[in-house]
Amino acid sequence: MGSSSSISSAHLLRLYDRFESLDRDNRGCLSPDDFEALGGLAMNPIGGRIMEAFFSSGQDTVDFSSFVRILAHFRPTDRNRNKEGAQQELPSSRTRKLKFAFQLYDMDRDGKISREELLQVLRAMLGLQVTEEQLQSIAERAIQEADLDKDDAISFDEFKKSLEKTDIDTKMSVSFLK
């Protein structure tokens, strides 16, 4: 855990307790069933994807350090204001949050959100509320809005650009991870 993502020891302790309580068979690491045992996460439309993010490096268990490392993405950023007054926090933190979100879309890790991937996420989130056609239209529009190099997919830079005016930090921070 690098210095830029260090969590205070009190919080670490709490997280460790949580880790232990999740780890039902006490192996010192979490497996996918441990995640699925969490009711809320199972019902979350993108619960599966969140889970995937933890297991990203190809292993099938998550040890405590990886657990914390991923969760550290969601620390609120400690920002200093500077003259511009715009969102000028440490670039790495915001970028990391965005990268995390991007990876939730980009399941095949090709660095782009294709239309199909976008559709999948939309389908998961919107579910039965909309028709397939509406989904198509929405996905279409989303890609048209964001896709600047016309490759019919959203790359990470385009993703970042489309969100440049949004306050990511508020949206993707959990205060108890400070």
Partner: protein, 768 residues
Amino acid sequence: MILILLHGSRGEIPSKPIAATILPFVKPNDGVQTYPEDQKNNLPVFTMNYPRIQIPFEITLWVLLASFAKIGFHVYHKITIWVPESCLLISIGLIVGAIMHSVHEEPPAVLTSNVFFLYMLPLIVLESGYFMPTRPFFENIGTVFWFAVVGTLWNSIGIGISLFAICQIPAFGVQDINLQENLLFSAIISAVDPVAVLNVFEDVSVNEQLYIVVFGECLFNDAVTVVLYNMFSFVAEMPVVEPVDVFIGVARFFIVGLGGMAFGILFGFVAAFTTRFTSKVREIEPLFVFMYSYLAYLVAELFAISSIMAIITCALTMKYYVEENVSQRSCTTIRHVIKMVASISETLIFFFLGVVTITTDHEWNWGYILFTLLFAFVWRGLGILVLTQIINPFRTIPFNMKDQFGLAYGGLRGAVSFALAFTLPDTIGRKQLFVTATIAVILFTVFLQGISIRPLIEFINVRRTNRNLETINVEIHCRLMEHTMAGIEDLCGQWSRFYWKDKFMKFNNRILRKILIRDGRAESSIVALYKKLELQNAMEILDTASGNISAAPSIVSLSPNVELLMTKKFLAADLRNIHDILSKNMYKIRERTVAYRGKHALPNDSQTREILIRRHATIRRSLRPRSFQSSNVPRTHKYFSLPAGKSLESRFDAARWHYTDDHETLSEVAYPSQRSRFGKPARSSSSKAMIPLHRLGTLEEVPSTDVLNEESSSTGQGVFRTNSSYSDSRVPHPRRLYSLFDDNNSELGHVVLIQLRDWPHQEPSQGP
């Protein structure tokens, strides 16, 4: 008898014989009745009856005068950048007041405290509540309440006690004011006023957090102010204060605050429920919104609980459900009317503030007033400082020093304090002094702070906001992030606001929506935003559509030569083709002249209510893998919303876009072939570049429509005949497709708006 007659004849035409006899003794009354010259009883040719219309007349004149002032300000628009409108209005009011004073006229009796609290304030607060951005509000709700409640308490008590201390100094000559009265006065002037603050902050686009906290604070501090005011005014008449009274005060505060909210929510739900059934009476739908909010306000006033909180929570609750139930038009009407009346109300308030300043009797006391100003400022600053320190650890994004400065400096006092000062009981000896001091504080804060806040904020570089355009991307990604955060919170085992929000949304979708919304389908905000954006794009297209297509930069910019050629080519000749094909497919176009259906019915727009764009080519492109490149699809086909050969049902079966009433209408735009082929993603962005997106509230009726009667023989001419006898019942066809042809028929064909109507099922006849 003469007296009686005199009295009786003031406003009426005197009975004839009597008039004749008493005429020599009676002088004409003030402009009421001109008696006939001769002693005969002629019908008066010209009569004037002023007192009858006096009150409405004067109100109207004042409103007009204030509105003219508003128009006048914008003539020289630089002024409004530097001087907020409230200042200008007060200045005009001062001038008018000076004029009135010099001619010894009284200000209109209509401006009483009652009028302010019962008629003017609810409208302003309703507007604030209705247009409050809900998401940031609920994210910051803790901070808002913290500042509203504790901040106001801190301010009142602080100012009250320090003023009391000042009063002890004999030099100022105010020793007769005791502690209770001081506290009462300080309760009045510590109330930050929504009207003044909003007026100023609107132009200074500070960051969202700051805005919402200031905004929320001034709306919700009413609860505290009401309690303190009542408590202190009650107590001011008592010689001794006991501790039990303090506890009662606290209890009262909770009743006032929570009761207000409870009433608001109750009325909000009732309003939402009512609008579920209003699909047949669309014309009066906006009425429900107003009546229920006003009712919430009045009922709260009845029980002396916080009426402002009631009306705000009512508006917040109501808005979400009502906007889904009512028609698009009603929605627009509601928004417009709220804005209009709030604007008038606000204008009048500031105006009268100026007028009454001159015309009341003042009692000036240098020491007291100056110290009041000083303490108001100091205590607010201190309060913000201390409170922010306490609450910053709980906030995800802490307030930095600059934000705090903005918060403190933005604490303007305004009309609420003013009205409260006037309602002070007359038993208070120094009422005039209080009134004068209140006015002084108001004028000082509004003028000085109002004018200087903008340059100061720019100077110290408070974080600003970007009033960003809404995009569907942002909405989708934000939704994703919310889900992510809910999941993460679950994982960490900590419940925080995402969890509660998630819970609430589930509860909302499962239960509340089923009860309160007419067709109860859960609609995601993503879909709603998508529809809205499409609608805006449609309006933009129509705005540019009246010109010719080659003038539209978006097309020209794409691939100039080919496009221009193709545009011009298929206009005239293909028109006939299109016409045949369309009529064969039983397209129907909206009437040009609106059929008169009776006095209380709105124009018949049931078929053509909403316009949504479907990018057919792009949809088809996405459905059929990459086949759009083929150029051998006949050009005319691209006009249809269906791929050739498919039936209507399969494509549009489930497309229920539900803005309107039971007959779903779906409008679609088929772009000309160039667009479909070459109109790649740049369309939306370039159209944005052309025209700023309208807010949905400015949706206008599309002016240019033509009618093509399906029974009339197709003429292939550009101009289509209107058919005023179009009626639904005669044409029981399924899946009517209505087209809307552009008025400028020489350049016809670049926009075809098609509407789909969901009729009872029958097989349609096939296309070509």
